[in-house]
Amino acid sequence: MKAVLLTGRKNRHGARRVRAGAMVCALRRLIALTAFAAVFVSWPAAAATEVLVVVAQQSPAYEEALAALRARLANVPDKVLALRVMTAEEFSDSGPRTTDRILPGLVVTLGTDAAATVLQYKLPIPTYCTFLPQAAYAVLANAAGRERAHLSALYLDQPFIRQLRLIRLALPERSRVGMVLGPDSRKNERELRRTAAVARIVLRVEQVSDEKQLVGALHRVLDDTDVLLAVPDALVFNRRTAQSVLLTTYRLGKPVAGYSRAYVTAGALFAVYSTPSQIGRQIGEELLAMQHKADRSLPAAGYPRYFSVEVNERVAHSLGIEPGRADDLARQLAGNVTEDSP
C-alpha cells in the first residue's frame, strides 16, 4: 500500500480560480488528456490499483474521512489499493503532468471543489466523487458530458425518505411537512413529492429564487404545516440564513428538521446526517467492493449508508416536544430496510 499525504498550501477557492483562467485551463486540459490517454489502457490491469484521492484543501473533516477510509482498507488482508492524497490545487498545478511511475486507476474526490477541479479535465479515468451534496454533483455530472460513464458519486446529504422517516419517528403527530426550495433543491421537487406521498406525509413547498424571499416563504409554508424540513441550498438554506430560519420558525412555534449537526446545535430540533468518518468508511467499502467486481465498475451514485441523529433537547423542551433520544431514533431509522430510493 502506498499512501502519500502531500501537504499543500491552503486554498479554499482553488477550483473556482481554475475555472476563471480559461486559457490556462484549456492548455492544462490538453496536456492532461494526452498524458492520461496514454495510460488509460493499463486500467484495470495493474495489480495494486493506485487510488488518487483529491481533497479541496486540508481540513479536519477530510482528515477524519481519510482516516476512516484508511482504517477500512487496513483491515483487508490483500492490499490491492494504494492511496495517494493530494489537494485540488496540487492536482491542478502538477497532478496530471508529474504523476510518476504508476498512474492512478481511479480518482476519488472529497468535496465539491475537488470534484469540480478534477472533472474540469474530463479525464477518461473513473472518478468517484464523494463527500459532496447531491445538487452539486448533478451540476458537475451534467457538465462532464460524455465522460459520465466513468463517473459516480457518494453524496453527503441524506435520502429524502430517511429525513421523512425521522420526522415520522420523532414527531408522529406532525404529518405536515413544509419545505422551502431554492435553485439547487427545487430540481428534485417532483421526486420529493413522490417520496412524501409514499411516506404518507403531506408536503407543502414554497419556491424561492433568492435569499430575500426566504422569511416570507417560511411564514407562508409554516402557516399550515407542523415542521420545517431544511435542505441545503447554496442560495436559500445555508450558513448565512440559518439565523433567520431558526428565529422565524421558533417564533412561529414550529420545529426545524435540519441537515447537519451544526444546525441542531444552532437551534434545529433534530437532524440526520453523516459524519466524515461515516463517509470515509463507506468510500473504503465501495472501493473494496469494486475490486471484487469483474469489470471493476464504479458503484451507482448514492446516498450514505451510515448516518447519525442529533437532537436538541433544549429546543425540544422549550417547544414542548418529546422527539425521543437521538441514539434510539438512529437505531430505529437504521432498522428501516426499505430506504434505498432517494
Binding site: 473556482r16 473533516a61 468535496g111 465539491t112 471543489d113 463527500f131 459532496l132 451534496p133 445538487a135 452539486a136 451540476v139 458537475l140 453527503l156 446529504d157 408522529p172 403527530e173 404529518s175 405536515r176 435553485p183 439547487d184 429564487s209 433568492d210 435569499e211 430575500k212 424571499q213 426566504l214 422569511v215 416570507g216 417560511l218 411564514h219 407562508r220 441545503p232 447554496a234 442560495l235 438554506f237 445555508n238 450558513r239 440559518a242 439565523q243 433567520s244 431558526l246 428565529l247 422565524t248 421558533y250 417564533r251 441537515y259 447537519s260 451544526a262 446545535t265 444552532a266 437551534g267 446526517y273 466524515p276 436538541n312 433544549r314 429546543v315 423542551h317 422549550s318 414542548g320 418529546e322
Partner: protein
C-alpha cells in the same frame, strides 16, 4: 394627595404631532424603498454547508418556557379556534376561555370579564396587542370596538388566567389577554373579506402585504357595521386601518413598526331621555408603536419598545328642553380624549444552562382630557414607572422555579411591590404540577381618582347636577392569588389543564352614591373608595382533544365562588357559579368544515346591573374552502344564538337574539 398638583400639560401639542409624523413617515419610506432582487450566478453547493459550525441561535436565554413550566395557567386561542368559534368580534372569542364572561352592554360596548368583578368597564384585565397595552386610562378597561384590528390579522391569543404583573405590567390583575398579530411576512399578496347578515351586518376587510428579504409590510383596512341590539340606538360604523412593518436591518436586530386607526359613529342614548336621547358619539382611536430587539454576542437579548395610544370620543349634546328647568336646554359635554405614552426596555440574560434572568424598566405617561367628568378643561396626567425582574431556575430537569417582582411608582398612588413565586414539578413525563403565589395591583383610573362631573345651567356654572365627585386619595387594589395547577398529556392527542385558585382581592375600588349637595334636584354624586374586598375561590378545567388536524374538541369549565363584604352583593354575584364552554370542529372532507360552540353559565349579574338568568348559547358555522383561478377562498355561514333570545348584559335592553351572517374571503398572491 392634592389633586390639583397633578394638573399640568407636560407635552406640547406640536411635539406630539411631530412624533406622529416622525414615526409614520420613515415607516413608509422604508416600506417603499425595497431594492429589487438581484440575479446572480448560483455557486455550487459546497459540503461546507454540512460541516461548518454555526453560532448558537436559540440560546438558553432566547428559548421560551414551555407551557408546562410557565408560572401560570395559559389558554391559547389560535387561528383555527377563532375561525371555528364564528366570532365576528374579538371580544366574543373569550367565551371559550374557562372563567370568562362576555356580555354586550350595547352593540359596541363589549364587556369581557374574568372571575366577575366587572361592570360595563371591565377594569381588572390587562389586554396587550403585540406588547402594547390597550387599557384605557380614562374610564379603564378596553373599548373592544375601537381597536384598529381585524380578526384576520391575529395570529394567536394567549390568555393568562391569574395575575402576572412581573411579565405583563400594571393592571395584570385578574387575568391577561396577550394578542399576537401576524407577522407581515406571513401574508404576502392580497386578502379580501366581505360579510353580510342580519341586523345590518355589513363588514369588509382588505389587506395587502408585500416585502422582500429583510423588510416586509402589511396594510389592512376594513369596515364594520351593524345595528347593535336593533331596538336600541346602539349601532356602530367602524372604519379602520392598520399597518405593520417588520425589518431586519442586520443579523442582530429586528425592528417592528405598527400603526392603527379606527373611527366612526357609535349610537348612544335612549328614547325618552331628555339629556341622553338617541345620538351618535364619534370615536377616533389610533396608535403608533415601535419595537426593537437586539441579539447580543453572549446570546442574550435586549428589547425596547415605545408606543403611543390615542382614544377620543366626541360627544357634545344639548339636552332636550327640561320642563323642571322651565324648558331650559342643558349643554352636556361627554367628550373624552385619552392618551398614553409608554416606553420599556428589557434585558434577557442567560446565567448558565439552568438559570435565566429577565429584567427591565418602563415609564408611562397618561393624559386624560374629559372636561365634562373631570371638572377641568385641561388634561389631567399620571406618570407611572416600573421596574421588574424575574428568574427562571431549572433546579433539576423536573423542577422549575419562577420568581420575580415588579416595583411600580405612580404619581397618584405612590410605590408598590408585586412579587410572584411559582414552582413547577414534572412528576411523570408529560404530567406537571404547579403551585404558585402571585400578587398584583390595579391602579385607579382617572375617573375613579379625580371624577368631578358637573352639569351646568350657564357659563358661570350654576350647578344643575353633579353626577361624579371622587374624594380621591385612592390606593391601588391588590390581589394575592394562590393556585395549584396540573397540566397533563393524557394521550398524544389529549391534554388536560386543571387549576384550583384562591384569589384574595383587597381595597376594591367601588363606585357608590355619596351625599353631595342637598340644594340639587339629585343630592347624590358617585364617589369611589377602596371600600370592598373579595375572596374568589374555585376551579377551572380545560380539556383539549385533537384526533386530527382539522378535528378538535375543546372543553372549558369553571366553578367560581365570590365572597365579599359588598353591598347588594354587587361583587359576590358578579360571576356565574358554573360555566361551560365547548367548541367542536371537524373537517367533513373536500374543504368543508363544520364547527359548533356551546356555552352555558349559571345566573350572574354584572356589577351594578340586573341579573342575567341561566345562559345557554349555541353558535354554528359551516365553511367551504375552494380555489378560484389563483385565489384560495372560503365561504362560511355563521348562525349565532341559535337557541334564541339570551340576556347578554342586562335583562332590560341587552338581549341578544338569533343572528346570522355569510362571510366570504379570498387570498391571492
Amino acid at each position: 394627595m392634592p389633586v390639583a398638583n397633578e394638573l399640568s400639560r407636560p407635552v406640547i401639542p406640536a411635539a406630539r404631532r411631530l412624533f406622529h409624523v416622525t414615526l409614520a413617515v420613515p415607516m413608509f419610506i422604508m416600506a417603499l424603498s425595497i431594492p429589487p432582487a438581484g440575479a446572480a450566478e448560483p455557486p455550487l453547493l459546497s459540503e461546507e454547508e454540512f460541516l461548518a459550525e454555526l453560532p448558537v441561535v436559540l440560546t438558553a436565554s432566547r428559548l421560551a418556557q414551555p407551557q408546562a413550566e410557565a408560572p401560570a395557567a395559559v389558554t391559547v386561542i389560535d387561528r383555527q379556534m377563532i375561525d371555528a368559534s364564528g366570532a365576528r368580534n374579538l371580544s366574543e372569542v373569550f367565551r371559550m376561555v374557562p372563567g370568562f364572561q362576555v356580555g354586550f352592554e350595547n352593540g359596541h360596548r363589549h364587556v369581557v370579564g374574568y372571575h366577575g368583578l366587572a361592570d360595563e368597564f371591565s377594569r381588572r384585565l390587562q389586554v396587550l396587542i403585540d406588547g402594547r397595552s390597550v387599557y384605557l386610562p380614562s374610564f379603564g378597561g378596553v373599548s373592544w370596538s375601537d381597536l384598529p384590528l381585524a380578526l384576520d390579522d391575529i395570529e394567536r391569543i394567549e390568555v393568562i388566567r391569574g395575575p402576572n404583573a412581573v411579565t405583563y405590567g400594571a393592571n395584570s390583575f385578574l387575568a391577561i389577554i396577550n394578542i399576537t398579530t401576524r407577522h407581515s411576512a406571513a401574508d404576502r399578496g392580497g386578502f379580501v373579506r366581505a360579510t353580510a347578515g342580519s341586523n345590518g351586518i355589513r363588514d369588509g376587510v382588505l389587506r395587502m402585504a408585500s416585502g422582500n428579504g429583510d423588510v416586509s409590510y402589511r396594510l389592512t383596512t376594513g369596515y364594520q357595521q351593524d345595528n347593535g341590539y336593533g331596538q336600541r340606538n346602539d349601532s356602530r360604523r367602524i372604519t379602520f386601518m392598520n399597518g405593520r412593518m417588520d425589518a431586519r436591518p442586520g443579523e442582530r436586530d429586528d425592528i417592528e413598526l405598527q400603526f392603527g386607526y379606527n373611527e366612526g359613529p357609535r349610537g348612544r342614548g335612549y328614547a325618552g331621555s331628555l339629556e341622553n336621547y338617541p345620538h351618535d358619539q364619534e370615536i377616533t382611536s389610533r396608535f403608533q408603536q415601535i419595537r426593537w430587539r437586539h441579539r447580543l454576542d453572549s446570546g442574550d437579548e435586549v428589547a425596547a419598545q415605545f408606543y403611543y395610544n390615542h382614544h377620543e370620543s366626541d360627544e357634545q349634546v344639548l339636552s332636550l328642553p327640561i320642563p323642571a328647568l322651565g324648558g331650559f336646554q342643558v349643554p352636556i359635554n361627554y367628550d373624552i380624549r385619552s392618551e398614553r405614552y409608554d416606553a420599556e426596555v428589557q434585558h434577557t440574560v442567560g446565567l448558565g444552562e439552568s438559570l435565566r434572568l429577565v429584567w427591565g424598566a418602563g415609564a408611562r405617561l397618561d393624559l386624560v382630557e374629559w372636561p365634562g367628568f373631570l371638572g377641568s378643561t385641561e388634561p389631567l396626567d399620571n406618570r407611572y414607572y416600573r421596574l421588574f425582574a424575574s428568574i427562571e431556575w431549572r433546579a433539576t430537569p423536573r423542577l422549575v422555579l419562577n420568581a420575580g417582582a415588579m416595583a411600580e411608582n405612580s404619581a397618584i398612588t405612590g410605590s408598590d411591590l408585586s412579587p410572584r413565586l411559582a414552582v413547577n414539578y414534572q412528576f411523570m413525563p408529560g404530567h406537571t404540577l404547579r403551585a404558585g403565589v402571585s400578587s398584583a395591583t390595579r391602579q385607579p383610573v382617572i375617573i375613579e381618582e379625580k371624577g368631578n362631573a358637573r352639569f351646568c345651567l350657564n357659563a358661570t356654572c350654576s350647578l344643575f347636577d353633579q353626577s361624579f365627585y371622587s374624594s380621591g386619595n385612592l390606593v391601588p387594589e391588590r390581589i394575592l392569588a394562590n393556585e395549584l395547577g396540573y397540566l397533563g398529556r393524557l394521550a398524544p392527542t389529549l391534554t388536560l389543564d386543571l387549576r384550583l385558585f384562591r384569589d384574595h382581592v383587597t381595597r376594591l375600588i367601588t363606585g357608590f352614591d355619596g351625599f353631595y349637595d342637598d340644594s340639587l334636584p339629585d343630592n347624590e354624586a358617585t364617589d369611589f373608595r377602596n371600600r370592598d374586598k373579595a375572596m374568589i375561590t374555585g376551579s377551572e378545567l380545560q380539556l383539549h382533544w385533537q384526533p386530527e388536524r382539522n378535528s378538535r374538541v375543546i372543553l372549558g369549565y369553571a366553578n367560581v365562588r365570590i365572597e365579599s363584604n359588598d353591598l347588594d352583593a354587587v361583587y359576590s354575584e358578579s360571576a356565574p357559579r358554573n360555566s361551560v364552554s365547548l367548541l367542536g370542529l371537524h373537517e367533513l372532507g373536500d374543504g368543508l368544515l363544520a364547527s359548533a360552540a356551546f356555552y352555558y353559565q349559571d345566573e350572574m349579574r354584572f356589577v351594578d346591573e340586573h341579573p342575567i338568568g341561566v345562559l345557554r348559547r349555541l353558535d354554528l358555522r359551516l365553511a367551504q374552502r375552494f380555489h378560484l383561478v389563483d385565489a384560495q377562498g372560503e365561504a362560511a355561514v355563521v348562525l349565532q344564538n341559535v337557541l334564541g333570545k339570551q340576556v347578554s348584559y342586562n335583562e332590560e335592553d341587552s338581549i341578544a337574539d338569533r343572528a346570522g351572517f355569510l362571510t366570504i374571503n379570498f387570498r391571492f398572491r
